[in-house]
């Protein structure tokens, strides 16, 4: 018979004891015969003898985190042979030693519950996130009690915060655990049965049944379509992987090594010079745009000023030496195209930056709320700070975290782009010879959804020369990396969606001005 270990954790006075007592108030069908209650709070004698005896509870007091060892559980097993262990854990202790203990094979950690007073939660979270974070991350439930003064929008915000730490953790606003049946039942004695059929399974089954009824021809057609999408998707991904890894490394390096103030000092002087520096900084980072996105995100997480960083990002493709070379080679004997491409990129990027500065949009307003947990400050990396190689191992761990985080968005973006690629070229053909404004719009849409790397989009643009005018081709090349849908999806991890829409519209409008200027002069 399995022995479950349930853990209730949280700060002192958070309502852990009440929670535990409540677990035993309502009668259940089955009950345990011997329960060990491991209390990790100092001195507090809150459980009276009557309560303990009535519920067959034996109290164990642990007053020092060093006592949480393999031997403790070994001793409990040898001496008591309990059928249930409940741990009231100390919220100020590191939770990892508890999870790291070697327990007998038939022992299982079942539920970990984090209990918090609703009103103080946000305060603790913002000031002691390094302490709270591991507790919540390992919890199955977060229970907020004494929530009467909390309004609904705040509740939503709390829930969002918890889900951002671990989307598997379920946040509840409850004063009594018995009020919530699912929660209460998960503490019930006896084996637990989890639902075996998930909605995903039903959908998969439905699709498979549907496929059985389709004719061979349609199936072959579908297979071919998916095959084509698969090749485009994987090729975009494979090509991007080295750059993403490099970008993740640089981003991690920026976040771990360089102190925030340093970066701020370099580019936060609000003058024209800072924009010029930002605009040409891309020259020194000759990587593909998908590698630059994680780096930009890293800078923004360090609270670098938004206008200059956006200028840096938007112009990076224009001043990238590899891009310039590729344009020169795609349009040989016509260096004017390359020069105009650089100028158009610089103009658009600097204008957007200046407008952002005039609008006084601050970095912290556009970052996603949950970002306090997504920065890879030394706290969350959980590496040994004493070690001589602390910084090196933090950077490597950070690289891995960033890599996983960015890769997710790259996968989604590449998938969207490869589906777009299947249909877009044919659609574009329908608009050959359209008027000037429509040409611009078509190129804008193509730039967004074709997701071609900035280093090669000159060659794609070349193939449009027969059907589109020069200015529209130039805007395709210049706006391509700025509005690339894949990049936007990667950015959506860091930046608010509203702001991304704003920046797209802004770039599109400035792009149109640039385009009209080009039309006048060519």
């Amino acid at each position: 018979m399995a022995v479950y270990i349930d853990v209730v954790t949280g700060f002192l006075e958070s309502g852990k004891t009440t929670f535990i007592k409540e677990l035993f108030t309502k009668k259940r069908k089955e009950s345990y015969e011997k329960i060990i209650l491991l209390v990790c709070e100092e001195g507090e004698k809150e459980y009276d003898l009557h309560f303990l005896e009535a519920n067959h509870i034996i109290l164990y007091m642990v007053e020092d985190p060093k006592e949480i060892t393999d031997e403790l559980f070994d001793r409990i097993e040898q001496m008591e042979e309990p059928d249930y262990i409940l741990v009231e854990y100390n919220g100020t202790w590191d939770i990892n030693p508890l999870l790291n203990v070697k327990i007998p094979n038939y022992y299982t950690f079942r539920n970990i519950v984090y209990v918090s007073e609703a009103e103080t939660f946000f305060h603790y979270l913002s000031n002691m996130s390094a302490l709270l974070h591991p507790h919540i991350k390992n919890s199955d439930y977060v229970i907020f009690n004494r929530f009467e003064n909390i309004n609904n929008s705040q509740k939503r915000r709390y829930k969002k915060q918890v889900r951002n730490i671990n989307s598997n953790t379920k946040p509840y606003f409850l004063n009594k655990p018995a009020d919530h049946k699912t929660l209460f039942d998960s503490f019930a004695p006896g084996e637990q049965f989890k639902t075996l059929i998930t909605p995903g399974m039903v959908i998969a089954l439905f699709i498979m049944i549907l496929l059985c009824f389709l004719s061979n021809e349609i199936l072959i057609r579908i297979y071919q379509y998916i095959q084509e999408i698969s090749v485009s998707f994987l090729s975009i991904l494979i090509q991007a992987l080295p750059f993403i890894l490099l970008g993740a490394f640089i981003s991690s390096l920026i976040q771990v090594i360089i102190p925030s103030s340093r970066i701020l000092n370099i580019i936060s002087k609000h003058n024209i010079k800072s924009f010029i520096v930002a605009a040409f900084a891309g020259f020194f980072f000759p990587v593909c745009d998908c590698g630059l996105v994680p780096m930009i995100s890293g800078l923004l997480k360090k609270r670098a000023p938004l206008p200059q960083i956006m200028t840096f990002w938007l112009t990076s493709a224009a001043v990238n030496p590899i891009v310039i070379l590729s344009v020169l080679y795609a349009f040989p004997g016509n260096p004017r195209i390359a020069i105009l491409r650089v100028l158009a990129g610089l103009f658009t990027g600097i204008m957007v930056g200046v407008i952002l500065m005039i609008l006084k949009i601050k970095t912290k307003d556009v970052l996603n709320d949950n970002l306090s947990f997504q920065t890879i400050g030394g706290d969350f990396l959980e590496v040994d700070k004493e070690s001589r190689f602390y910084k090196a191992s933090a950077v490597i761990k950070g690289t891995q975290i960033e890599f996983f985080r960015v890769l997710k968005y790259v996968i989604i973006g590449a998938l969207v782009s490869s589906v777009g690629l299947l249909f877009l070229p044919e659609t574009i053909q329908n608009f050959i010879g359209a008027n000037v404004l429509i040409q611009y719009l078509i190129m804008l849409i193509a730039a967004m959804f074709m997701s071609t790397c900035s280093t090669s989009n000159a060659f794609i643009a070349r193939s449009f020369t027969t059907s589109f005018s020069y200015p529209s081709i130039l805007s395709f090349m210049a706006l391509g990396p700025m509005l690339d849908f894949k990049n936007l999806i990667i950015f959506s991890e860091t930046l608010k969606k509203g702001f991304l829409v704003q920046i797209c519209v802004l770039t599109g409008v400035i792009g149109l001005i640039t385009y009209s200027l080009l039309n006048l002069f060519i």
Partner: protein, 285 residues
Amino acid sequence: MRGNKNIEVLIQMIILVSIALFLTFLLVTNKINYYVHPRYRLGIWACAVTLFLLAFRLIFELRKGRHNSNSRKYAIYMIPLVFAIVFPVVEGGNANKVIAESANSSVLDEITNLEDKTESSLGDSEDENALNDSVEYDYLFDEDGSTYEEPEDKSLKYPTEMIDGVISISEEYFASWYYDLYDYLEDFKGKRYQFLAQVYSMEGLGEDEFLAGRYIMVCCATDLTGYGIVCKSDFREELKEDQWILVTATIDEYDYNGTKIPYLADPVIEKAEAPADEYVYYNFY
């Protein structure tokens, strides 16, 4: 006695290792060339090695206890692997088969030496897969500064030695030769060429006509296109799609929807073996 298993770290390790293995598999079997331009090879090797190292580092975290780890969120990382296994890449991939854009545009008139500038740096190294970028850049800058004269007759850019009145176009020249052929048809007319090609069919061609061409890749498989020249043969039915042939033919012109495009006259077609690299890669830098 056992410790608490850290499923999350285990899953991360599996993902890293399987991506790295997939990349290594592609590199070792050369299938990577179906997906991306060979110039990325070095970067992808570096990437695979780094991923292996990251996975190795995670071994030390395996013993760290973890409760309620969210393993479902890792499903998304499996998508590429599922795609790679269920829909393996085939030759030709997602390429459209077309004839090049004609030379009406003013830009294309100026499109000239795309490959011949780099060919001497590339030509020496047979295994140009692991391209050394820096060497090439130096070369490009030197070349841009110098007084490189474009020959008046574009056909002179390519080998002119004839064996039995036939000029052989090797793989490395094919892409730029093909583009020049479309842009400066007059210069090439009447010359007899031999080249390795594949048989493509295209809508709008006659029953005994086909395209003799190659798949050309600029950057990755999303831009892969099968470019071909119209050719007429009495044995058209015997030629299968994508079959490898050695074409010997004289360049002539052909009226295609009102534009003059190259045409392969008096073709002699022999069956041929597939080359090591099925695609032709466009080396612009």
